[in-house]
């Protein structure tokens, strides 16, 4: 499986009318590339990530992932596109507290309105082993450490075999060792699947493993 390329052109997103908009004039990310997006707080890193994921719709400009113009998709299509193609990892893990790790991992499948197939169940076991949480699948998130939670979140993000992995400050709530471990996990999984990885971060200590670092203020470095 190959990763999806990402192209952003003249993107502008205004949260509130009258407020300073987020602008990204040009950004191209190749298929299978590992890219870090950095920049000061408020420069629009997360907004850009959300526009690529189709969570936010840009006020103007183009966002293309693979062959798809994300900004032209309907709300329902963008939701389906996220479920089928995107693996999302958040700073605060965003695991549902009332279901266990296994069920959290199955969420993208459940949201598709179906039960996991035998093949998907095998995949979960395999991925959870690689993520080091095989023994934690029946635990609720509150019974996990921060690092374990983020690994569970990565496991969930990979359940739909995404072509594009988007991570928003995935190491922001972790100590440096745990952060590095989670990032390595993401990269390993991306290497295995060929998925493109886009990570938003302001942590300069984790930039080593990326193919490219994009500074959103200068837009490229």
């Amino acid at each position: 499986m190959r990763g999806a390329s990402v192209s952003v052109k003249e993107l502008e997103h205004r949260h509130i009318v009258g407020q300073h908009p987020v602008r990204v004039s040009h950004l191209d990310i190749g298929a299978g590339e590992k890219v870090a997006i950095t920049g000061p707080s408020g420069c629009g890193k997360t907004t850009l990530l959300c526009c690529i994921a189709g969570i936010l719709l840009p006020t103007s400009g183009e966002v293309t992932v693979g062959e798809k113009r994300i900004d032209q998709l309907s709300d329902s299509d963008r939701r389906k596109y996220r479920r089928d193609n995107i693996g999302l990892v958040f700073q605060e893990f965003e695991l549902l507290e009332h279901i266990d790790v296994r069920e959290n991992a199955y969420l993208p499948i459940w949201l598709d309105g179906r039960e996991p197939t035998d093949d998907e169940e095998k995949k979960l076991i395999e991925r959870s082993r690689r993520c080091g949480i095989e023994q934690l699948l029946h635990r609720k998130p509150r019974a996990l450490s921060q690092g374990e939670r983020q690994r569970a979140a990565v496991c969930r993000a990979l359940m739909n075999s995404p072509t594009l992995i988007l991570a928003d400050e995935p190491t922001g709530s972790l100590d440096s060792n745990s952060g590095r471990a989670v990032l390595d996990l993401l990269f390993d999984e991306a290497d295995l699947s060929g998925a493109t990885v886009v990570v938003v971060t302001h942590d300069s200590t984790i930039l080593d493993g990326f193919d490219r670092v994009v500074d959103l203020v200068g837009e490229a470095s």
Partner: protein, 391 residues
């Protein structure tokens, strides 16, 4: 609603156990009163109607018609005035039906003591579970519920209640011998103790028994001595138990046919006989015939008017509860904003979160509703077989 959505909803509900249980309980408590009242009224109506249908014509003294109905059919309450037994004798002699006189003045441990004739057993098609219907003075047949409650059986004995403790001329407790226990009927008969009219009159003081008074020896007990009649004073010891020795000493003062009964049930031969008897009773100003079903309908109409007020109140409580539930759900969505955001970000289909919340609410409402029905059923069962409602 898909399986995964149901599973997510159930997980969320079980995770927030206290909230779920409290909400379900609130709904159950709001629903239980109107449901129970509806069920009880229906039961009440059915049972009353069944009794009234089997006893279409009742005669008593003029006064409250509903009191007479409740008294004669359900053995509750008292009547203002009584009528002489003679009315029953004359009705029987007319050949249009069988009169079943009722004399209801005493009680046994709070249960009504019904003085009547053996015709009552046939009239109500009563089946004896054990023993036989009372044949002699101080014999009693107990309704199934009373027998169970008092732990009494054939061969046992129990005293009647004392009603006029401070009345020198009043009644004394009489020791009853249990000769029979009725099979369960699901009617007020289950809660009553049946004796002969004579026994009931002994209990109410209309008939009494004491040792023979010799005016020569017992001059201190004699109030008045006429040639054929001795009046004893209050110092004479009245019998409180009927024995072979004193059985013959029980006697009324005055005309036996004038002894009172509180009501007469008429088992008319046919409609024509009932009509003839009804018109005969109507002509006598000292009597009041009532058509049980008509009276019952009027009585139920009053109950239904009261129920309408209760229904309006229940409606207001339900509306208030729905509004409060709406508020709780709104606040819950606020509290679960992060969870909702996560689902949306991962790619939850449009309306999924709303459907998920609706599913959760539906489950809680269903559980509350089922609990409400269960509690209402339990309440109806308790009341129907308990002391709170006419059996």
């Amino acid at each position: 609603m898909s399986g995964p959505m149901l599973r997510l909803a159930l997980r969320s509900l079980s995770h927030h156990k206290v909230r779920t249980v409290v909400l379900a309980l609130c709904i159950a408590l709001v629903g239980v009163l109107p449901t129970a009242v509806d069920g009880l009224l229906e039961l009440y109506r059915t049972r009353l109607a069944a009794r009234a249908t089997s006893t279409p014509l009742v005669v008593g003294a003029p006064g409250s018609r509903s009191d007479l109905l409740i008294h004669a059919l359900y053995f509750r309450g008292d009547v203002e005035r009584m009528i002489p037994r003679r009315v029953a004798i004359e009705a029987g002699e007319s050949g249009h039906g069988v009169p079943v006189p009722i004399h209801l003045k005493g009680s046994v441990n709070g249960h009504p003591l019904v003085g009547t004739t053996p015709d009552y057993e046939k009239f109500r098609s009563i089946k004896m579970n054990r023993g036989h219907w009372p044949r002699k003075l101080a014999e009693a047949a107990f309704g199934s519920k009373v027998a169970k409650e008092l732990g009494i059986d054939v061969g046992g004995s129990i005293a009647t209640d004392v009603h006029k403790l401070h009345d020198l001329a009043g009644s004394y407790p009489l020791l009853l011998k249990v000769t029979g226990v009725l099979s369960r009927t699901g009617t007020p008969d289950d809660d009553a103790v049946f004796v002969s009219l004579q026994t009931s009159w002994v209990v109410s003081g209309e008939i009494h028994g004491h040792l023979r008074i010799d005016p020569e020896k017992d001059f201190n007990l004699v109030l008045e001595n006429q040639s054929n009649h001795i009046t004893a004073n209050a110092a004479v010891v009245e019998a409180v138990e009927v024995t072979p020795e004193n059985e013959d000493s029980f006697h009324p003062h005055g005309d036996p046919d004038a002894l009172p009964v509180t009501a007469i049930l008429i088992d008319a031969n046919d409609d024509k006989g009932a009509t003839i008897l009804r018109s005969r009773f109507r002509r006598d100003e000292s009597l009041q015939p009532i058509d049980s079903l008509v009276e019952l309908r009027e009585l139920l109409a009053v109950v239904m008017r009261a129920k309408a007020i209760l229904d309006a109140n229940s409606m207001l409580v339900i509306v208030a509860t729905v509004l409060l539930l709406g508020l709780i759900v709104t606040l819950d969505v606020k509290v679960r904003e992060r969870e909702v955001q996560t689902l949306e970000r991962i790619g939850a289909p449009r309306g999924f979160v709303a459907r998920l919340l609706f599913t959760e609410i539906a489950i809680v409402v269903c559980c509350g509703g089922l609990l409400s029905l269960f509690l209402a059923r339990a309440a109806i069962w308790f009341v129907a077989d308990g002391p709170l409602l006419l059996p």
